[in-house]
Amino acid sequence: MAWQWFHRLGSPRWFYEKTQAWLPWLTVITLTLLIVGTVWGLAFAPVDAKQGNSYRIIYIHVPAAFLALAGYYIMAISGAIGLIWKMKLPYMVMKSAAPIGAALTFISLVTGSIWGKPTWGTWWEWDARITSMLILFFLYLGIMALQQAFHSRDTGDKAGAILALVGTVNIPIIYKSVDWWYTLHQPASIKFVGESTIHASMLYPLLTMVIAFYCFYALVLLLYTRAEILRRESRTQWVNDLVAQATRPDNKDMPIKGGSAV
């Protein structure tokens, strides 16, 4: 009885139906926060005394990097749950988290590179933080490739989960890289313990963007996972019913011929 919620959580159908109601709310919150944070950071936050306006890249660079790391935890923990309890849903979450994490790591690398040019005078430096983020990017790509590389989906899921778990070694290295090998990348400005080294007028828009990126991540992870659930459960009755329902000729949301609504 006490474990019922856990087993229900492992049911793709339950997850699919439960998350349906969250999507509109999450979309509204995400878009609002993203717009507010972007306008605030680009136009209303004060200019940095040392770096000038180039520092405004922080409002996307730092949130993207946060989520690139947090997303790795989500992927690795999902993989571990799949391996330990042999549940289907966690593997679908793991598979969905990989391309999102790769995209966010890509954003943090590219925006960092663009920020580096006017600030450090170089697009790229083999600094410890930058290099370990590049390894994270390749880990994400490797997990995506490995999962697809097997004929059996089960084997691919397990192999991907094991690689994800092995790759977690890289995460504390990324966190500590700016302290252990202090070369170019500046240390963290936001600290959970002790005083942050960033002024409130810059911190609040940054926090807004961090929360916005967390919401965006949750939204996109739900969308990817739901699409994956449909594909993997395509032989089940409930998905057949759902397909019949969604593609009925009188359903304006999903016309079979032409149309653009999703």
Binding site: A45, N53, A103, T111, V220, R226, S234, I256, V262
Partner: protein, 61 residues
């Protein structure tokens, strides 16, 4: 809290940092839109494909 620039033109140029800032935001925007749209397209493609199979199955019965 005030608008930090004198004019829209200076908001665009950002004292010479404009191209960097706008390029970073532009690339990020494109990637985020891709992340949002691609699962929706996957879902739509799946529904179309399954609907076609269902109709084919119904015809052959």
């Amino acid at each position: 809290m005030n608008f930090q620039f004198d004019s829209f033109a200076s908001f665009m140029t950002m004292n010479g940092h404009g191209p960097f800032v706008w390029a970073a935001y532009g690339i990020t925007f494109v990637v985020l839109v891709y992340l949002l749209v691609s699962p929706l397209l996957q879902r739509r493609q799946f529904l179309r494909q399954q609907a076609r199979q269902q109709r084919a199955a119904n015809r052959s019965v």
